[in-house]
Assembly symmetry: C2
Homo-oligomer: 108 residues x 2
C-alpha cells in the first residue's frame, strides 16, 4: 500500500466513522426523549425516581447481546456515561421546574 | 393516570429504551471495527497514530449536527468515553501483538 493509498483509505474510513457518529447522535437524542417521558410519568404518578434494579437491567440487556469487538467492561463504561448524562439532564429539568433533587436519582 | 396505567406506560417506555440500546450497541461495535481498520492501515503505512486534530473533528461533527435534547457538553463527554474505550482496545491489540504503546495515542 502506497502512502497515497493509505491516506485515501484512511479518509474513507473516517467518513464511515463520521456517518456512524451521526447515527449514534440520533439514537442518543431519541433515548433522551424517552427518558424524559419516563421522568414525567413518574412525577405524575408519584412513583419513586430511583430504581437501582432498572440500571442493572440496562447493563444486562446490552452485555447479553454484545457480540464484540467491544469488551463487556468497555461497553458498561460507555453506558454508565450515557445513563449519567441523562440523569443529569433530568435533574436539571426538575430543578428548573422548582423541584428538589432526589439524592441518588437514577433514570434509565 | 392511574398507578396501573403509569406502570404500563413505564414498561412500554423501557422496552423502547432497551430497543434503542441494542441499536446503540450495534453501532458502537460497528464503529470499533472501523477504528480497528484505521489502526491496521496506519501500522501498514507507518503513519502517525496520534492525530489530535482528528479528535476535534469528531467532536465538531456531532456537536454541529446536534438538535438536542442532549446538551453539547453532555454529548462531548459521551463521545470522549467512546473514543477513550476504542483507544484502549487499540492499545491492547497492539500490545498483544508485541508492540509498544505510544504515549498519548488517539484513534478515532
Amino acid at each position: 500500500m502506497t502512502r497515497e493509498e493509505a491516506l485515501e483509505a484512511l479518509a474513507a474510513h473516517r467518513r464511515e466513522v463520521d456517518a456512524i457518529d451521526l447515527e449514534l447522535l440520533e439514537l442518543l437524542n431519541r433515548r433522551t426523549r424517552v427518558v424524559e417521558s419516563i421522568g414525567k410519568i413518574k412525577q405524575a404518578a408519584q412513583l419513586p425516581i430511583y430504581e437501582p434494579r432498572r440500571e442493572e437491567d440496562v447493563f444486562r440487556n446490552v452485555t447479553q447481546h454484545n457480540a464484540g469487538p467491544l469488551a463487556p467492561d468497555a461497553l458498561k463504561r460507555i453506558f454508565e456515561r450515557i445513563i449519567d448524562e441523562m440523569r443529569t439532564l433530568q435533574r436539571m429539568r426538575r430543578d428548573g421546574a422548582g423541584r428538589g433533587t432526589e439524592q441518588g436519582e437514577k433514570q434509565c
